[in-house]
Subunit: 215 residues, 2 copies
């Protein structure tokens, strides 16, 4: 009985249903030279490697061809509110949080370098974070007027402001969204990272890009 | 040397640093009656059980006192759009999806039993789902006018419509949100489950409740 290359591969890679010893290939056992046998085996291994690499590449190309934006995750939903203490209490009661999260305030201009519509701004915000199982709800109360937070709250009232994605490389991701119809409306720094809000008028949403300076 | 009750507990429950044999307790070895010894040991075990139950209950009460709403997860972000095919293409391009998701249409009234503001409605919607790593973006194009989708789109334009939580028991969760200022605006069925939209005007968001009829 002569084994097929599939049998040989099964034996070589120890797959299920593999014969316990190398199957005979036509003529191999009758070859005059042991070197010839080894050369043929090496050739077959090379062919197999090519087949496996081809299968691997096809798999990669069909399943992971395009990298997902922001690793395919929305990390935060940002909501603007009139009064962060009031809103935090209401959200805590609904979400079932025993404790209302601590309210923090964004850094002043000297540290945050906040830019709104291309110009430096002194505007800041009070923030509270509800960390859910799969993402964070961020409540934002504007402090001062020259910010996307204040503008959005005045125009639309309390509610959704943005969805956030964690990205690597701020400038290229701003360019990526601008290339798809986006417009950078605000950016700034915080301890541990930077953010940018890119308005996507053709989608009706603001996307926040978050980068981390920490590894 | 007399052991403490802590030593005894360490030995009894095989904890680290436990003595290799039961430590002597004051007077126990000198007791006249073996029954007395056993009674005392039994009493001490009872006391220990009470202590452990107390510790367990305090832990439960402080860490898991309040159950998180919707298991602490936002399962979907819903966006209303003017044209689902156009919007799907744009979102696919931004999110890095190779394929635009299939567009489906909600069931007709006979199957969906759609109720809008307390009345049956023939209105439906075209839906497209972008399944991200941690939640789903749902695009919604209203079909017909008597729905929260159409009303929201007309009032606010394209963009955020709701955040969704998976819950068990629709009626009690509607009541839970109504008790916190919510108002049921629309509900209906789909293959495998039901949904309700509860407007939360005091938060500026619509919360969708999703129940599954499947185990």
């Amino acid at each position: 009985m002569h084994g097929t290359i599939v049998d040989w591969a099964k034996w070589r890679f120890g797959l299920k249903g593999s014969p316990s010893r190398p199957p005979r290939r036509g003529g191999v056992r009758n070859s005059n030279s042991k070197i010839e046998v080894l050369k043929k085996k090496a050739n077959k291994m090379k062919k197999l490697q090519v087949v496996f690499i081809a299968i691997f590449m096809v798999t990669v190309l069909t399943t992971g061809a395009q990298e997902k934006f922001g690793k395919g995750q929305i990390t935060q939903i940002g909501l603007v509110v009139n009064d962060i203490d009031e809103a935090s209490k209401k959200w805590a009661a609904i979400l079932g949080f025993d404790k209302v999260p601590e309210v923090i305030i964004t850094d002043e201009y000297e540290k945050a370098n906040t830019q709104f519509e291309g110009k430096p701004t002194e505007a800041r915000a009070k923030l509270a974070f509800f960390r859910l199982e799969n993402l964070t709800i961020e409540l934002i109360e504007p402090v001062g007027k020259k910010s996307t937070w204040y503008k959005h709250l005045k125009k639309h009232g309390e509610g959704f402001h943005h969805i956030a994605f964690g990205v690597e490389g701020m400038e290229q991701n701003i360019a990526y969204l601008e290339n798809k119809g986006g417009k950078l409306v605000q950016k700034g720094d915080f301890t541990g990272g930077s953010y940018s809000y890119v308005d996507m008028p053709n989608l009706g949403v603001i996307i926040e890009l978050l980068t981390s300076t920490q590894k």
